[in-house]
Structure formats: C-alpha cells, structure tokens
Symmetry: C2
Subunit: 396 residues, 2 copies
C-alpha cells in the first residue's frame, strides 16, 4: 500500500511509443528497417539527450517484458521442423561466430596493452548475437521463414545459450582465478537440457493446455494461458542460467504446434506492438552520446578500441555466415549474426562489477555493442536475397 506510481514513467512509456512509431515510420520511408528508427528514438529520448526515458528499474521491466513477448511471437511463427532441418548449418554458424569474435576481441584488447582478464571479458562479450534485433529485422523483411532466416534464428538462439554458459565460466574465473571443468559441463548441460526438456515436455503439455482452455467460460483464457506458459518457461530458463528470452521462444515453438496457433498469434500482436518498442527504445536510451565526442581526449582511446572491436566483431560474424550450406546467401546469414545486444551488455556490466574491465574498456565494449546493433538493420536490408523463399517454409 505504500507504493507510489511515478507519473514520469507514464510519460516515458507514452513518449517511447510515439517516438518509436514516428521515427520507425520515417526510417521505413527512407528504405530502412523501422527498428532502426526505434533505436534512434531511444537515443533521442534517453538520459544523454532529451532525458524523457529514464534507465530506471520500471522502464527496464517493461522493456524486458517487451522482448520476451517478441521472442514468444517469433517462436509462435517458427516451424520447429524447419528449424531442426537447419540444425547442422545453424550450429556451425553459431560456433564459428563465437570463436572468431572471441579470438579477435581478445587479441585486439591484449595487443593494446590491457590485462588478460579484461581481454577475456571483451572476447566473450562479442560472442552472442542479439536475438531481439535479428528476429525483428527478419520479420520486417519477411525473411523469418526462409532457410537463411531459420539458420540465423537457430544460430542466434544457440549462441545466446552458449554465451550465457561462457558468462558463468568467465565470471567464476574473475572471482576465483580459475574454474573446474565439471562446473563448465554442468552449466552447459543445464542450459541445453532445459531447451530439450521444454520442447519434449512442452509439446504434449501445450496441446493439453489448449484443450482445457477450450472449456473455459471466462474471457481471455487462451491468451492469458499462453502468456503464462511463456513467462513460466522464461522463469525456468533464468533459473537454470539461460536467458528468459530463450524460455519465451521455446514456449512459442511449443504453442506453434497446437491448432490454436493463429488465434494466439492474433491476440498477441497488439501486445507485442505496445511492449516490444519499449525494448528497442530502452536499448537506444543506453547510448551515451557524450562518449562519441572525439574532441574529448579520454574518449579517443575508447573510440579507437571500439572501432577495432567493431571491425573484428563484424568480420568474425560475417565469416560465420560461410559456415552455412545448402544454397543460401551466406553474406545475409553473416549480417544477421552481427548485432550484439543483451548478452554483450550483461558481459560488460558483470565485467565492470567484478573489476575485470577498466572504465575505458567498458565504454568501448558498450559502444561496440551499439555499433554492431545499428549497423545490422541496413546491412540486412542491402544483402537480402531478391528471390522467392528458397525453402518450403510458410511465409511469416
């Protein structure tokens, strides 16, 4: 009862929605994916420019709900068999796209004279692709259901799962100076085991759920039960050390195999329309434009490091596209893996919290995450294959 709603959060929510749609529309008319406009809206509304959207806990919560619902929707529009069919190339793309940026990031940081532990954190932070950005651009370009789209999606999920395992390992090294091999195995097993269990148990549970829901008399039970399943799997994913979005995505995959898929998807769309922009605005709001000014001496070292990290981060993921096979446009797949996001930022903040990352390296890492994120949407648009969908996948 002692809670108080800060009215500024209502204003921030409204401003985020309006600016995201306005700039999204503008950017789309300029021929770019509208998510770029939403990211720019975030930069403009964030604390370093207009200060209308705070980086507060409340805003973060709404943004997280937004990205979970977005991944839930993407899962719902994904065919698990199609995804399984590209499992081989997706895994190779994921692994190449983790190893090359790690090695590149480590070497660049080490060669510039920073400590080895900092270099490990930087390398690790460059590994994971942002599923949110990638999925959103693929949906906008209507490429989600193509073979390329499925490989990107599968690889992005895989490197998010593996990236968080690496985070657990690297954090333990920072804390205790070393790590036991069984701990690495346990973390990996838990994260992969969760996804396998969620899909194996989830599919019969999802079908039963839909049948129970059919008998309900009160309003809105189907959408409430679906979202509840997404939240439950997101909770379990977080508990086993994986990302909540992986759980939400799994819930979507599971419910995509029920006969109520279209109904759930229809009900979900307006919810995603309201909350997903908050995620992209929140990502943009974290850009501190003050760090971009090269006239400030301290910024120059960070900007140089960021530039080099962006280059190795970009090249490493682009090269990963060549790990795919089966008549696909490899450059498009590589570009789809370029944006870094949530996991990269989590690495940066854990690295700073444990003292492993000097302030300057931290800033450079954050700038690198943003550079790759802002680069990917126009790049994907340019590299999009101009042909009918290459697989039998249904259009999204």
């Amino acid at each position: 009862m002692e809670h108080h709603l800060d009215p500024r959060l209502l204003l921030a929510f409204a401003a985020a929605l309006i600016a995201a749609k306005l700039l999204g529309e503008l950017v789309e008319r300029l021929g770019q994916p509208s998510v770029l406009g939403e990211l720019l809206a975030g930069v403009a509304l964030g604390p370093s420019v207009l200060g209308l959207v705070p980086l507060s806990d409340g805003m973060f919560l709404l943004a997280e709900i937004g990205v979970m619902l977005l991944l839930f929707e993407v899962g719902l529009e994904t065919n698990l068999e199609e995804l399984g069919r590209v499992g081989g190339p997706a895994l190779v793309v994921a692994l190449v796209g983790m190893v090359l940026p790690f090695v590149g990031g480590f070497l660049v940081t080490k060669l510039l004279g920073y400590p080895a532990l900092a270099a490990v954190f930087v390398g690790a932070a460059l590994m994971a692709t942002s599923i949110g950005i990638t999925a959103r651009v693929l949906t906008e370009l209507k490429m989600l259901a193509t073979r390329e789209g499925q490989i990107i999606l599968g690889a992005a999920v895989a490197d998010d799962i593996l990236g968080l395992v690496v985070l657990a390992v690297v954090s333990r090294i920072a804390d205790q100076g070393g790590v036991e091999i069984w701990a690495v195995g346990k973390a990996t097993g838990l994260a992969i085991g969760f996804l396998a269990a969620a899909l194996l148990l989830g599919i019969p549970v999802g079908r039963r759920l839909v049948k129970v829901v059919d008998r309900a008399a009160v309003r809105g039970v189907l959408v409430a039960a679906s979202v509840a399943l997404a939240l439950l799997l997101a909770f379990v994913a977080a508990r086993v050390g994986s990302a909540p979005i992986v759980g939400a995505f799994a819930a979507g995959l599971v419910l995509a195999r029920t006969n109520r898929r279209h109904e759930i998807d229809t009900a979900l769309k307006p919810i995603v329309d309201i909350f997903a922009p908050l995620f992209f605005v929140f990502v943009g709001a974290q850009v501190n434009v003050a760090f971009l000014n090269p006239a400030v001496a301290e910024n120059r070292a960070a900007l140089l490091l960021a530039l080099l990290l962006s280059v190795v981060g970009f090249l490493g993921k682009m090269a990963a596209g060549w790990g795919a096979w089966g008549g696909v446009r490899r450059a498009f797949i590589g570009a789809g893996m370029v944006p870094r996001g949530e996991v990269g930022l989590i690495f940066a903040s854990v690295g700073r919290a444990t003292g492993a990352l000097p302030e300057r390296v931290f800033v450079a890492l954050v700038l690198t995450v943003f550079a790759t994120t802002f680069l990917a949407p126009p790049l994907l648009k340019i590299l999009r294959p101009r042909r009918p969908a290459s697989s039998s996948a249904r259009s999204a």
Copy 2:
C-alpha cells in the same frame, strides 16, 4: 546496463495469470462474478499465504498498467452523451455517497475514542468508490451500457476526482494543522478542469490522430497511438492531482468518438486480458490474513472497528443509490458504489505516513476497504435488474 530482472517476478506474473483465470472460472461456475475469483487468487498468492506474488514495485507497476488499460477500455465502450445524460443523478449519487460514509466513519472512529484527526482520515478514506472493481463487475454483468451502469460509472469517476481533492486537503491539515480555502478551490478546479479540457480538446485531437495513423505504413500504429494517448492523459491527470485512471478513462471516452473505436477495442482486449488480472490479484495480495484471526487479542479491537466501519461504509453507499432517479433500480446503483479501492488505500497509507492514523485504525481501515470490495461483486449479481436494458444505450 546494471539492471537485473528478478526471475521471481516472471513466476509471480505467470502464477497471477493462472490463478486468476482458474479461480475466476471456478467462481463464475458458482454463479459469482469472476473478478471475485481474481481477488481471492490474490489473497492466496500474496505474502500472507503462499508468498508467490510479492508486493514489490515491479508488481505494482504492472498492476497499475492493468487498471489503467481496463479503465481505458471501459471509456472506449462508454458513450459520452449517454454518460452526460445521467450527469444529474450521477452527481447526486456521488455526493451523497461521499458525505454519508464520511460522517459515519468520522462518528464511529470518534465515538470509539480515537483522535479527531484519525477520525477525519477514516471518514475521508471511506468516500471514494473503486472504479476498477465496479467497472469490471458491470462489464461482466453486461450492465455497463444501461442507465444504472452509466450512473454508477459517472458517480464513481466523480467521487474519485473529488476524493483525491479531499486527500490533498486532509493531508495539508495533518501536515500544517489547517488549510486555506483558496488551496481547496485550486485543487478542485484543477481536477475538474483537467477532465473538461481533456474531453473538449481530446475529441478533435483524437479524430485528427486517427486520420494521421491511417497513413502509417509500419505495424501496430493505431493501437500504439491509442495507448500512448491513454498514458499521456493519465500522466497529466496525475500531474494535476487527479488519478491516472481518470486520465486513461478520458482517453477512452475521446477515442470512442472516432470511427476506429471497434478496431482499437479489438486490439486492446487481449492486452487488458493479460494486465487487468494483475491489478485484481495485487489488490487481493494486500490482504494480510493474519489480521483476520480473532483469537489474537490485538486483532479484536481492529476487527470491531473494521466491522462498524464496513457497516457505515456499506449503508452510506447503499443510501446514495436513492439519490438517483429516472426509473432505475436504486439498490443496484447503491451496491455499485460499495467497493472501495485504490483511493481508500491511498488515504490509509498517507494517514499512516503522516502519523495521523494509529496502527490499529490503519489495519481496520484496510480491512474495511477489502470487506466492501469483496462484498460488492456478489451483491451486484443478486441485485441486478432482470429486464432488458432500460435505456437506448448500446450493449457493451
């Protein structure tokens, strides 16, 4: 970047949705409005029983978004002319329903030997009806568009607005021992002026907004723009000292007069289905069942006070129903005014924070708010007029 999503909030969200729908369904099959089940789900999940739904800031934020969206939807389904046509009886019902519970609450508290300032807070806390509970039950009973429903809705909005003016006045008395008459006039003018301005300016703005939105190419602009308008008006309402829900309701009234009303309503329904239950669960979760045990000596004085306050609070609002005219079922209107909610709890917490309310009186006040809230849904169901809608209002 240092934000961390507490996974327990995901579990709380999921548990709230599941329990609300399950108990809502059960209660509806027992012939009661399902909102009662959602409130009971909250009691069960709250800290005093299972402890799955915390009274945290995050949960509160989601609950507040839920009740704002609910009132936005109710506004969207309300015809402003119909509402204006019952303005006279609604105002009389609101005023009688504020004066009688105030006098009754004041006298009961004073006669039981508590200080005069505490008695003023108690009386004031019993004045405002919970729009959320009332609107939800009216929707469930399909009574929102009837003359009775419109009178209840108008009166509940009016006493919420006036109740928050009284809160400003009473808080100033508690702080400074007195209040200037111009401050009372200013607070009243601001709150009423906001609603008038929102409707007068809002209707042309809403129509223009819909036209602009029609030209958009990106997805989900109509629903995003509508929700943004609701949030903006909620923000302004809060800024002028009124309740955010009043602003959200006004936004609904405004958009109800556009030619896209049905589309907005359709898109809004699943969002309300997900978030509104969180409000009712959060209300229920605030019930501390430990206070209900009469075997504990300290509880008995609070329970006695709560019983007496519930009686005067109930009778005062029931009597207010007789302030209405025009061939309506007055007992139904009175029952619609019985549930106390947000504003009553705000009074209780401000009273405790300023030291005006002794702990025992605070507990009694909170119990009274809950007693009236839980009593209203079955009462409304019993008293519902069994005849076709008495006015020309469209069915909700």
